[in-house]
Amino acid sequence: MSWLHLAVLLPLIFALIIPFVYRIHKRIHIGWFVLPIPVVLFIYFLSYIPTTMSGESVMQSLKWMPHFGMNFNLYLDGLGLLFSILITGIGSLIVLYSISYLSRQEQLGNFYCYLLLFMGAMLGVVLSDNVIILYLFWELTSFSSFLLISFWREKPASLYGAQKSMLVTVFGGLSLLGGLILLILAGGSTSIQQLIKHIADIQASPFFIFAMILVLIGAMTKSAQFPFYVWLPDAMEAPTPVSAYLHSATMVKAGLYLVARMTPIFAISEGWIWTVTGIGLITLFWASLNATKQQDLKGILAFSTVSQLGMIMAMLGIGAVSYHFEGSDSQLYIAAYTAAVFHLINHATFKAALFMITGAVDHATGTRNVNKLGGLLTIMPISFTITIISSLSMAGIPPFNGFLSKEKFLESMIEVTHANLFSLNSIGILIPIIAILGSIFTFVYAVRLIGQVFLGTYKPKDLPNKPHEAPILMLIAPITLAILVITFGLFPSILSESIIAPATNAISMKQTSPVEFHMFHGFTQAFLSTLLIYIIGCLLILTFSYWIKLLKSQPTKLTINYWYDKFGSVTPNISKQITNSYVTGFTRNNLVIIFISLIIITIVTLIVTPFSINLKNVSEIRPFELIIVVLIITAASMIIFAHSRLFSIIMASAVGYCVAIFFIFFGAPDLALTQFVVESISTALFLLCFYHLPNLNRHQETQPFKWINVLVSVGAGAVVTVLGLIAYGNRHFSSIGSFYKEHVYDLAHGTNMVNVILVDFRGTDTLFESSVLGIAGLGVYTMIKLRYNNKAKDKGGHDIEETEK
């Protein structure tokens, strides 16, 4: 147990305490008690910056289940620290914001419990060195996110969104678990750092490609990549602080973290580079295109988040090319990692700020619909300023930080087409084209976001509330973030040495040359494409009303949501049909299935395993035995063909008596005696039963019904015969009966061996056989007695006791 362990567990511990504090302390907003936790953690993690800057990492181990290799080991390097600082830093601001956003009428105890649970889980994900522990925390983030999305659980849309995100992310989580287990099998260790050391084993293993695909599915679902982004727009039903924290700054970046963390293992594969880059770029383009047609402010931001995540994912993919080069060539592609890490920070700042402003606008006006909003410029000036800063940063306009990372992004996308590897220099030409297209639409929606909310005409009649500037408490957090946006834009060197370089080194496993971000590089290809983006973007904004109709006319069948809903409604029907097809409720059908599977299993076993039929060791046939054989088969077949029930009963008892005669022939007097008596009693019982039943006719059975029965029964008979023949001929040991034969008199002082076995050698069988008889007797008695009681009730409604008298 170390301070680092305590840091991860601190939010989880407080998640338990906070609901109790909430119960006791109702006068002060409970958020104030929560606020110190992320702040303290933030400061604590900042203190690690010197450690990671010097290229060192911290490994703290705590034994949990050492036999399974499951130890709660924490590993902190540049990458883990970057995420920890993001989680705690943005977390502090979110808690501060939520204090003014959520009123005290809400169930705040639940809210902060879930939020702290999430924070702890997220810290666990980014700091765990053990893959199984990582998976546990991963699922805890899905789970707490589910709880937070459905926070307003009386709204059906919240429940729908929560269920959707749960299904998608848990699907990905399970796939990730599969991938991690394959990695453990291939690498022989549960520790990520050990796995990286055994990288040669893993790459030689047949599991390599499967592990890669499964891990990628896990990362893609969590980070809302194409086509798994469906859950994120619906998760916007959560309270705005949750959307800002989980669905823009932290949880959706868990997938990015995983991709970055696993890069040293998988980067050598061509499939990894192409998949990560390709999916990232498709997501970037598709989501930025869709963001332009959203009506809801949070909808725009949701798609924008998806598209920015795609952009970072694409950079992580391109960066993997650096693993195939050495020296300065390698540095060219490591620049993509630098850009990815920088954009990760930038996105967290400007997107969280935008979400917070959206929440403030929603609070002030009562709507988030962009068609109703407009002209809030003079009414909400501070919000307007923050929106301008963060939106323009998102669009990639100087002097904000988004511009710097976007320049680096375009630069690396163009650079990669020169790589003489994996046909990157032929098909790879598509990479910068898609990236530029995506950036154009990013520019369009980012600029329109400002225009639609704050500029244009003011429509007071459409707004549910009278708009006003948000309270200062609500604005502290977005103002802080906006200041960061400008600071990082103007002075990127604050970050580059302290955080970005260690994180990049952790991803690339190489010492990176110092990163420098410049506002202007000269007229490079990247700069020219940025200009192109601005020009086309402006043209598109001016002609917006013309082409947006075209985009909106996209048929619903072409959306992924449509297929998700379709899948959700079709699969239960299919399983219902499958179940109904064999669960018919008819006993006979079940019996036919049971007998047929018996036959099939036996036949398959006989085919697969060799067997022999050895019939030498048999006794001779005596003629009077054959007579009984003929008799018993005749009697049995008479039962089948009998039309009257009485006749079939008599034939059945004839079979029983024949069996008794067999027992006489085979030297079993006790059996014969018992069989005679039992058969007589059974027959009497059958007859008694019929005496009380009306004379029913046989049920009509159709011809196919009969033929199926004949086939099944002949099959069962044949199986029994074949098995009997095989079993009889293959006897390996002699019977233990000789022991009883020798010792029946000297040990048990009896002469009748069967009786001595029943009551002396194997007396327990007899005890329980008597119990069975007793239970059956009780059962028969109860059934008859219960019937009379019910009848008595039916007749006069009397109580049981009265009729008993």
């Binding site: 018993i632 039962i639 059996l671 008979g717 023949l725 009889y728 008199y745 069967v754 069988d765 059962g779």
Partner: protein, 115 residues
Amino acid sequence: MEIVMIFVCGILTAMSVYLILSKSLIRIIIGTTLQTHTANLFLITMGGLKKGEVPIYEKGISSYVDPIPQALILTAIVISFSVTAFFLVLAFRSYKELGTDNVESMKGVIEDDRE
């Protein structure tokens, strides 16, 4: 003789399965009793039908029939008798309650179990 008995058991099994698959409850019960007879015969056959003395100890005799299968069958007879008796009463009761002995019509939700 054992081979003959094994074939007899196979034929009886086929017949009892056929009876069990039919619609009438009584035929099903008869099928199950037939099945127990088959099982008992099978047990004694598999024990070997070598000729020997009845397993009652007498001085000077060394060759007896194997007593173990007989003890097992004796147990089986009593148990199957108990079960058959129980089944019969059950069939009788269900006929009284449901008004049919057709297994195919014994299906569906019981809305009023006193009908």
